[in-house]
Structures are given as C-alpha cells and as structure tokens.
C-alpha cells in the first residue's frame, strides 16, 4: 500500500469514505429513531415544491417529443403509432431522466449548499457536541425524502408529458382521449412501469447521497460551499446517466429472458 502514488491513495480513501457514507445512509433507512418531522419537511421541499417545475418541463418535453417524432412516422404512414412511441419513450426513459436531471440541478445543489454552509459554519459540529444526531437529522432525512419523492415526481412527470403529447396529437389529428389512452397504454408493460419506478428510486437515492456527501464534507469556507454545490450537481448528473445505462442493461436482459 505504501508503494501506491499519493493521488491513487487519495482516490481510494475517498472511495472508502463514500462507501461508508452510503452504507451509513442505508442503515439509517431502517434504524430507528426516525426524524419524522424533518423527513416530512424535506419531502415537502423535495416533492411538492418541485412539482410545478417538473410538470412544466415534462409538458414541454411531451409536446416537443411528439412534434419532433411525428414527421418521421408520418413519412411512412405510421402516424397512428405516435401515442405508443411517445408513451414508451416517456415511461421508459424521458420521464425518469427529465425528473432526475431537474432534481439533480435543483435539489442536489440545494442540499449540498445547505449542509456545506452548516459544515463550514461549524453548526454540524455543534449538533454533534449537543447530542443531536446530525447524520440522522440532516443526511438521512434528506436522502429518504429524495428517494421517496422522486418516484412520485416521475409518475406526475409521465402523466403530464403524456398529456402534453395528447394535446399535440389532438391538435394535429383531432384524435380522441380514449383512443390516445388505449394506444399509449397498450404498448406499455409492467416491466416498463416498474423499471421506471426502480430507476427513479435509484436516481433519488443518488441525488440525495451525493448532495449530502459533498455538503457534509465541504471544506474551505464559503468557496468550499460553492464547490460542493457544483460538484453535487455534476456528479449527480453523471451518476444518473450511469444508473440509466445499468438499469437499461438489466431491463433488456429481463425483456429478452
């Protein structure tokens, strides 16, 4: 171990820290006492307060995706496939991805900055001294909130994106809502729905853990807080795409099996 370069040692040590942090958050999921009030407060901040932003972007995504896909399908007379194409795209990928990316930007930076400023102002140290469990109160509650709220936000995002798609299809073809629902839901399977929800849980967990980790271990005063927030957003977004790829591989394996 002594022969390893310093940079490599640093990376390995950080990886060990991250693993410990992740393990600790997971253990706090099941280990009472739970900070229920704080969890509910964080759920409200994460879920309810993000709904408008998520809904608005999802609606636009549904409209844009439908408009962009239509010419390609219309060129070989398959315009009627538009609802099923959009529903599959939204449920399988677009809904979870849009929700997770927006949450990574909005919540990741928020959590990291909040915890980072508490850390650099030594509030967390003070909490530890006063006997309050800062990890459970600050970290666990936020990670639980993001993990639980993200799937619900994804459900809303899917619904609103499909509504946006329906509005577009209806304005072009005048097709009925029942036909759109039949076409859209006819092409979705349980695997699509549950893989989407599992993905959203993983995204939420990743956003919470990364935001909390970067903020909880922030150093270097106010500049350090900024760096932590930036790092939280970038790392969260990167991890979202990596999780997406891994889940896709897993789901493809299940689909073929």
């Amino acid at each position: 171990m002594a022969e390893l370069p310093v940079s490599m040692k640093k990376i390995l040590l950080q990886a060990a820290d991250v693993a410990k942090f992740v393990g600790k958050t997971l253990s706090y999921f099941v280990k009472p006492p739970f900070e229920v009030k704080e969890i509910l407060k964080q759920c409200f901040a994460v879920g309810y307060r993000s709904l408008f932003l998520i809904g608005f972007t999802s609606f636009i995504a549904g409209v844009v995706f439908t408009r962009q896909s239509r010419p390609s399908l219309a060129s070989f007379g398959a315009e009627s496939w538009l609802p099923s194409l959009v529903s599959q795209a939204v449920v399988r990928a677009l809904g979870p991805l849009i929700t997770a990316l927006i949450c990574a930007g909005k919540l990741g930076s928020n959590i990291s900055a909040e915890l980072g400023s508490m850390r650099v102002s030594e509030q967390i140290d003070a909490m530890e001294v006063s006997g309050v469990r800062p990890f459970s109160y600050l970290v666990s509650s936020r990670v639980i909130a993001t993990t639980v709220m993200l799937p619900i936000l994804v459900i809303y995002a899917d619904l609103i994106a499909l509504f946006g798609s329906y509005v577009t299809v209806n304005s072009i073809n005048g097709s009925s809502l029942s036909l759109f629902i039949n076409e859209a839901l006819g092409s979705i399977t349980y695997l699509d729905i549950f893989s989407s929800i599992i993905k959203a849980i993983l995204f939420g967990y990743a956003i919470g853990v990364i935001g909390c980790y970067t903020g909880y271990y922030a150093t270097g005063g106010t500049m350090g807080v900024g760096k932590a927030a930036n790092s939280a957003v970038v790392t969260s977004m990167l991890s979202i795409f990596i999780i997406e790829l891994i889940v896709l591989q897993f789901v493809t394996f299940l689909r073929q099996g």
Binding site: L40, K41, C43, G47, I152, I155, Y156, L185, Y190, I193
Partner: protein
C-alpha cells in the same frame, strides 16, 4: 403542531396520495390492456417458424386484439410452440378448426398471431391446440428473389445483344430503324400513302357529313322525293311512258326481225340483191350504165337549153320559179 406545518403536511399528503393513485390507475389500465385482470384461457399453436414473434405480442381475431402471446418456446424437431393467452369471452368465436398464422401489425410493425375463427360447431376449449400455418420463410423469399434476379440478368444480356444488332442495322427491326433501309423507305412510303388516304377519307367524310346535313335540313332531291307528294304523279306518268316505249320497242324489234328474215330470203327483190352476188354484179353494171346515160342526158338537156327552139320555154320556167 404549527398551522403552517399542518398545511405543509396536508399538501404533502395530497401530493403523495394523488401520485400513488395515478400510479395505481396506470398499473390497472396497463394490466387491463394486457388482460392481466380479466379471466383468460390458454391455447397453443405450433409453428415451423415464428419470424421473430415475442412474448407479449398481440393475438388478433378478425382484426380485434383478443389476447397476447404468453410464451414462445422451441420444442422437438426445431418446431416452435406458442402459448396464447386469450380473453375468456372470446372463445365462443374460435372454433375447433380455427387456424393461427403469423402476421404483422402494419407494414413494419410487430409480429402478431392472427386467428381465423373456423366454421365447425365445437368451440375451442382451454389448453387446446389450434391448427397453424407457418409463414413463408424469409430464406425462401430470398431464394425466389435470387431466381428473379438471375432471370432479369439473363434477360438484360439478351436485350443488350438485341439492341446492339438493332444499332448496327441488322435484322428486320434494325433495317427498319435505319434511315436508308429498304423497309424503312417502304414504311415511309406506306405512311405517306396512308396519310393521303386519310386526307381523302377525311374529305369524303366531310362531304358525306355535308350531304347528311342537307338531308337532315330538308334540302336536295332525295328529301324532295321523300316529302313532295306531287312528284309521285309525275313519276307514275313517266313510268307509264317508259312502259309504253318498252312495249313499242319490243314491237319494233319483232318487226325488224321479220324484215331481216325477209331480207335473208332470195324470193323478194331486196333479199335477192343482198344474197345473190351474180345478180348484184349485174345490177351494178346496170347502175353504171344508168349513171353514164344520165350524164349524157344532162349534156343533151344543157344543149337543148341553148337551143333557140327551147330557150323561150326555159326562160318562162325560170320566171315562174322566181315569182
């Protein structure tokens, strides 16, 4: 608990509950689309080739989706057994002799199983096997396409040779295409003649047309014949006259025949002249003598006119003639 906190919790509760309700509704609708919540029955179909049919693909009866493919499995001899999950209420329409084929949902759509209902009285029961007809193998289609391609190549080669010959002016068609060829000239001549004929025909047709127009307009002789009743009397008279003339002509020809018969007979004078050559010669000599005598008589008469004995008589005659 503070009022603000209560309000927040209420909003959160509503948000979460609504999200879960939407999720459950989605699950229910997707499930009902895939016949998860409705009673189903199973049927099997064995195919030689399923052309990429997958688990979850649709099963159609008369263009209506009645179920899904539950499983696709290869079993003995490389044949494929397809497990179909069909809506329970639909089995009354599927008879024992129904057939299943592999179709396609649209031109480029997913593969589907298409069931033709059959026509016997017994309906399909749970776990029955439906008769199936396998689709044409893609490889077979490729083989057919290959044959067609080879034939086309052979045809194009022949066509190439043919065109080369024609370009060189060989053969009847080549000569025809060549400007200086005999056939080409003949064709041109024939075409020119045809053109002339066409023009003439056109003119004739125009004249005929004009005639028909006149006829339609009530002009010309034919129309008068058809419409003018006074002409009938004239025509009747004319025909009567023609009849009388014919009768006279017949009578004349009979008389003429008799005359000719008499002329041929030697017993009368004219017949003797016409038939007896010796008599004719004698008659000719007599006529010559008469002519000579007549000349001489004329000379005598002229001499008498200048004679003083008859001069007075001739002057008196001339004076009477002048008055």
């Amino acid at each position: 608990m503070k009022t603000n906190e209560v309000q927040q919790n209420l909003k959160l509760g509503l948000f979460t509950t609504l999200g879960i309700v939407i999720f459950l509704l989605g699950v229910y609708f997707v499930g009902s689309q895939n016949s998860v919540f409705s009673k189903t029955f199973s049927a099997y179909a064995i195919f030689k080739n399923v052309e990429g049919l997958n688990k979850g693909d649709g099963v159609w009866l008369s263009g209506v989706k009645i179920g899904i493919v539950k499983d696709v499995r290869i079993f003995q001899d490389g044949k494929v057994i397809v497990h179909l999950s069909l809506k329970d209420k639909q089995n009354e329409f599927i008879k024992k002799n129904a057939t299943a084929t592999i179709g396609s949902d649209g031109l480029v759509g997913n593969k589907i199983v298409v069931i033709r209902p059959g026509d016997v009285k017994q309906i399909l029961q749970d776990n029955d096997t439906i008769n199936s007809s396998s689709p044409t193998d893609t490889q077979e289609l490729f083989d057919i396409a290959k044959d067609v391609g080879e034939n086309t190549r052979s045809l194009t080669e022949d066509l190439k040779l043919l065109v080369a010959k024609m370009n060189k002016g060989e053969g009847a068609v080549g000569e025809m295409l060549n400007d200086d060829g005999v056939i080409s000239k003949d064709i041109r001549f024939a075409v020119a003649k045809l053109k002339e004929t066409t023009i003439q025909t056109s003119q004739a047709s125009a004249q005929l047309n004009s005639m028909m127009n006149k006829l339609n307009n009530g002009e010309g002789l034919i129309n008068r014949l058809a419409t003018d009743t006074t002409l009938v009397t004239v025509f009747n008279e004319t025909f009567d006259n023609v009849k009388a003339v014919s009768r006279n002509a017949a009578s004349m020809s009979r008389n003429l025949e008799e005359v000719v018969q008499k002329l041929n007979n030697k017993e009368n004078a004219v017949g003797l002249i016409l038939t007896d050559t010796a008599f004719a010669d004698k008659l000719k000599v007599t006529v010559d003598n008469a002519k000579s005598a007549s000349i001489k008589l004329d000379e005598n008469l002229e001499a008498m006119r200048h004679n003083f004995l008859f001069r007075r008589y001739f002057k008196k005659k001339a004076k009477e003639t002048a008055n």
